[in-house]
């Protein structure tokens, strides 16, 4: 059965791109436009992996990621962001938060992203 990936991004173009890219490569996708919607989809769709944008209004990716960590989620998360700060260090400030499984800066290198996903969930 195809692995399911949840795409969380507030930019519709980005969602379209990731959906197409991942589906073209044999994954199933669901999408959400902010952190709150994202958490709902985690519950309802039980994805195998999440790509998460950081700058979204409503709930940011960082907040959603922390929620996932606090809930003890084992789903690998790949951060996809336009912010070029050292995100790992930033997230490391929180005691209850581990570093995300992957981290990609926009514009995304499609091949590298696919390779990372393959490495994480096959």
């Amino acid at each position: 059965m195809a692995k399911k990936i949840l795409i969380v991004d507030d930019e519709p173009d980005m969602v379209t791109l990731l959906t197409t890219l991942l589906e073209d490569n044999g994954y199933e996708t669901v999408s959400a436009y902010n952190g709150i919607e994202g958490m709902e989809k985690v519950q309802s769709d039980n994805p195998d992996l999440i790509t998460l944008d950081i700058t979204m209004d409503k709930e940011t990716g960082i907040k959603m990621y922390r929620k996932l960590c606090q809930a003890g989620s084992q789903i690998p998360v790949i951060m996809v962001t336009g912010i070029s700060d050292a995100l790992g260090t930033f997230l490391g400030r929180y005691k209850d938060t581990t570093e995300p499984a992957g981290y990609f800066e926009k514009p995304i290198d499609n091949e590298a992203l696919l390779a990372k996903i393959k490495e994480l969930i096959g």
Partner: protein, 492 residues
């Protein structure tokens, strides 16, 4: 005169003469004879000044008249032609009856002292000129921070009245500043430097770099403090500009990354569609690519506008045609995204004076923002962008409303700040800042009404005729959320 007295008389280290009522010299000491020659049969004024008659104001004459001692200062010439300044004392010589028979005149050479005085006066006047003409603001203050002296630039810029306090003059304050470097210098005698913003008499604000130094009296105590301020307003302005250029570059790079990402996405979809022969996917990808190219274009326009600070090029504009033209460019674009577009221009809204290019780019920016706010809103199915035009006797009002994502309070308040963007990687934070700047440069106002999840309305009011006085819009609001970027910006 006895021999002993004669000897004393002769060896006195000054020029001594005894004169009769005609100012004829009847006796003189050795010192006199050496410098001025024999006195026999000669008159005072001949010997000392080579004059044919007595001087107008003569101390010897005064002593003859009133029997008292007199003093004066004279310039005399020696035998060898050297000019000598002397201080002259006269004293009466009386006979047994108490009648004045002669006057003794004692002249002391004070040429050296006179020359020293002259040098001192010259150097004082040089220092005074330096103090007056130095191109910075200098004041001298006492322990109560009262200005006891100020140079010309200071007096002209601040209308300085002596005795007024420093903080009253510089800052129009009623209390002293914290910290006060003049006080600190009074306390420890150290030279101090501090940067301040002061207000000139004409209300103009000025950035100054202030230096203080102690002035000590003869006993070595600090009795005054000299304060010297240099105008660094231009440097500060330049620094602000450079800072904002730095921020601009960061912001542009960030924006370009976002747009590249969009372009990459579009290209990927087109390629994927071609491979799979999927026409819908090609169209979808191409749409994304076109939209991002459009955004790059408007971003470049924004940057150009930001870089070039020009005054409006005023011309009369027919409002209805103007707004219809702008709307017609958007209808198709909006419809493709599933957004309804309407343009409601009040018939006979009339003409207004403005810079066509500037106002057009401002309105285009606002409409693009509205379309974007709808495009990214996944909460509602139906979206609408409506543009309205209304004319009043004094102004024209443009209202651009959308049913998009809306703004929370923070976003609303920071909306016009330079480099603030709510679009993450998709924005440079220039668009609304420039829109605000354009409206201000036309003497108009712009305000936002918005509610999160409901949509936003931008109202721009521009005066029909060019206002007589236009406020210069500064680029100072650099930081997101700068001090006075309220959501309602109708001040002018």
């Amino acid at each position: 005169m006895c021999t002993a007295h004669r000897e004393y008389f002769d060896s006195m280290p000054c020029y001594l003469t005894v004169q009769d009522r005609d100012f004829k010299i009847i006796d003189a000491n050795r010192e006199f004879t050496e410098k001025f020659g024999e006195h026999e049969g000669r008159y005072c004024y001949q010997v000392y000044k080579q004059r044919p008659e007595k001087c107008e104001d003569c101390p010897v004459e005064r002593t003859f008249r009133d029997g008292r001692r007199h003093k004066s200062e004279e310039l005399v010439t020696t035998l060898n032609g050297r000019d000598v300044w002397v201080i002259v004392y006269t004293t009466p010589i009386k006979n047994e009856k108490g009648e004045i028979t002669a006057v003794m005149e004692m002249s002391t050479d004070i040429t050296d002292i006179k020359l020293l005085h002259q040098a001192l006066r010259d150097s004082q006047s040089k220092y005074m000129q330096l103090f007056e003409k130095v191109p910075c603001f200098i004041s001298i203050q006492d322990r109560d921070l009262r200005i006891t002296e100020a140079n010309r630039m200071h007096r002209e810029a601040f209308g300085t009245a002596y005795g007024k306090k420093c903080f009253e003059v510089y800052k129009h304050r009623s209390k002293e500043c914290q910290p006060c470097i003049v006080k600190q210098t009074f306390n420890d005698g150290e030279i101090r430097v501090h940067e301040e913003v002061v207000t000139k008499e004409n209300g103009e604000r000025m950035n100054v770099l202030v230096h203080t130094a102690p002035l000590r009296n003869d006993a070595g105590e600090i009795d005054k403090v000299i304060e010297m301020s240099t105008d660094i307003t231009q440097i500060r302005q330049l620094q602000d500009k450079l800072t904002s250029v730095g921020l601009l570059i960061g912001s542009i790079s960030h924006g370009i990354k976002g747009l590249l990402n969009g372009l990459d996405g579009g290209i990927y979809l087109v390629n994927s569609g071609l491979k799979k022969d999927n026409r819908d996917r090609i169209d979808q990808g191409w749409e994304i690519a076109i939209r991002n190219v459009d955004r790059i274009r408007s971003m470049v326009m924004d940057i150009l506008y930001y870089a070039k600070d020009r005054d409006p090029n005023w011309e009369p504009i027919e409002a209805v045609d103007f707004i219809r033209d702008i709307c017609s460019n958007f209808t198709e674009k909006a419809n493709k995204l599933g957004i309804a577009c309407s343009c409601d221009a009040q018939y006979g809204a009339g003409e207004f004076e403005a810079d066509r290019m500037m106002v057009r780019s401002m309105l285009v920016n606002l409409v693009e923002n509205s379309i974007d706010a709808c495009r990214v809103d996944s909460k509602k199915d139906d979206h609408r962008v409506s543009v309205e035009l209304e004319g009043t006797p004094e102004s024209v009002i443009f209202r651009i409303a959308d049913t998009g994502i809306g703004m929370d309070r923070e976003t609303r308040e920071k909306a016009f700040s330079l480099f603030f963007s709510s679009k993450g990687a998709g924005g440079t934070g220039l668009g609304l800042f420039i829109a605000h700047k354009i409206v201000k440069s036309h003497g108009g106002s712009i305000k936002i009404e918005s509610e999160e999840g409901q949509g936003s309305t931008f109202t721009v009011e521009l005066p029909r005729v060019k206002p007589a006085v236009l406020e210069k819009v500064e680029d100072k609001k650099l930081c997101p959320g700068g001090a006075d970027n309220g959501q309602e910006d109708s001040d002018s």
